[in-house]
Symmetry: C2
Subunit: 194 residues, 2 copies
C-alpha cells in the first residue's frame, strides 16, 4: 500500500519529514500491523510524527505529500478482505493464538496470497482532490517543571497555582482519555478511545 | 532506552503482543524519532498497537510487561539533554535544516556521543510499583457501511438516522480533534492535540 501510494504521488521514500499519512485504523482490532509495512515502505514513521491513526476502524490510509494538491486514499477491497478472512491463518488468530505460534506453512501461505495479488485485486484507489493539510510547526523550546525538575517541551508546560509544571505534576485529568498518570500513584488504564 | 527497559524487566524482544509502551512524547517537538529506536529494539511497534504517546512532551517512556507488577519509567537525564543541546547538529536542526542535509561528520559525531554514553549518564530509571494496565481486548468482528459499502471493524460502526454507517459517512465531527474528514469534501486539518 505504501509503495503504491508513492507511485501514485510520484515520490520516493521520505528520508526526512516529507510524506504524511492518515491511517484509518483504530484500536482493538487486527490488521493494524499493516501500518508497520506502510512506515517501512514510505519512511513516514510514527515517531518522526509522520503517520497517525484516524480511528475509523477501516483497512485504509490517506497519503499526503507537501506541495501537491490533494491526497491519495487507498482502501483494501472488500472482495480481497472476504477472500483473506477465510484463510486458516485467521482461524488460529481468532482463537487467540499468537502469530509466532501458528504453523509456518500456514503463515507462509497467507503471505504468499498477499504478495502475489495484483494491485487491482488488492486496492481501491481514490484521489482526494480537495484534501488540505498543514503540518504542525515544531519547536525546540524547552521548559523545566518547578515541582519535579524535569524538562519538557514548552507546548506541554502548564501552570498550576502559579507554578510552571509538567502535565504529570499538574495532575489535571484529561477528559478525552481515561488514563491518568502520576509518577507516584496507582495508574489504571482502560481504553474507550474512538 | 528500549534495550535497557528489557533488561530491567528481564524480558526479551516482543515477537507477538507482549510489551506495551507509553511514550511521554507528544507532537510539534523534536526527538520523537527516539521512539522508532524503542520500537525496533523492543518489538513493541505502533502498528501492533503496542506503543502510544501520552503527549506530555517529555523525553521519557514507560515500559509495561504482562504478568509483571508495575512498570519501568526511563527518562533522558537533564544533564545529558543539556550536553546534547549544545551540539552543532542541533544548530542546524533549529534553523530548519533537515537531517539528511546536515554534514555527515557532524551527524556522526553526535551519534557517537550518544552511542558511547553510559546508561548512568543517559538515563534516570524509576520503578513504578503501582502501575496497572489492562490492554484493550481485540475483536475480528466486522460490519459494512450501508452508505459507502466499505467494511469497518465493528467497534467503529455508528448509527445515523437508523442506518448502520461508518464514521466518515456519519459525518459526526469529533470535538477532541480539529480534523473532520469526508471522502468527498474539502478537508482542513490543524492540530491542537495535547
Amino acid at each position: 500500500m505504501g509503495l503504491l501510494a508513492m507511485q501514485k504521488l510520484g515520490v520516493g521514500r521520505s528520508k526526512n519529514h516529507e510524506m504524511r499519512i492518515f491511517s484509518e485504523m483504530g484500536i482493538g482490532h487486527p490488521q493494524g500491523c499493516m501500518q508497520d509495512g506502510i512506515m517501512i515502505a514510505t519512511g513516514a514513521t510514527f515517531d518522526k510524527g509522520m503517520i497517525e491513526k484516524l480511528y475509523y476502524g477501516k483497512i485504509a490510509a490517506i497519503f499526503w505529500y507537501p506541495g501537491m494538491k490533494g491526497a491519495v486514499r487507498i482502501y483494501l477491497r472488500n472482495e480481497f478482505q472476504d477472500k483473506l478472512a477465510t484463510h486458516e491463518f485467521f482461524s488460529y488468530r481468532k482463537k487467540g493464538i499468537e502469530p509466532t505460534e501458528i504453523p509456518e506453512e500456514i503463515t507462509n501461505d497467507v503471505l504468499n496470497i498477499i504478495l502475489t495479488a495484483s494491485e487491482e485485486e488488492l486496492f481501491d484507489v481514490t484521489m482526494l482532490l480537495n484534501f488540505e493539510y498543514t503540518p504542525v510547526k515544531g519547536s525546540f523550546a524547552k521548559a523545566k517543571c518547578e515541582v519535579c525538575d524535569e524538562y519538557m517541551f514548552e507546548r506541554y508546560l502548564r501552570i498550576k497555582e502559579g507554578k510552571r509544571v509538567c502535565i504529570s505534576c499538574a495532575n489535571y485529568v484529561s477528559t478525552e482519555k481515561s488514563i491518568s498518570f502520576d509518577k507516584h500513584q496507582k495508574v489504571k488504564a482502560c481504553y474507550t478511545l474512538e
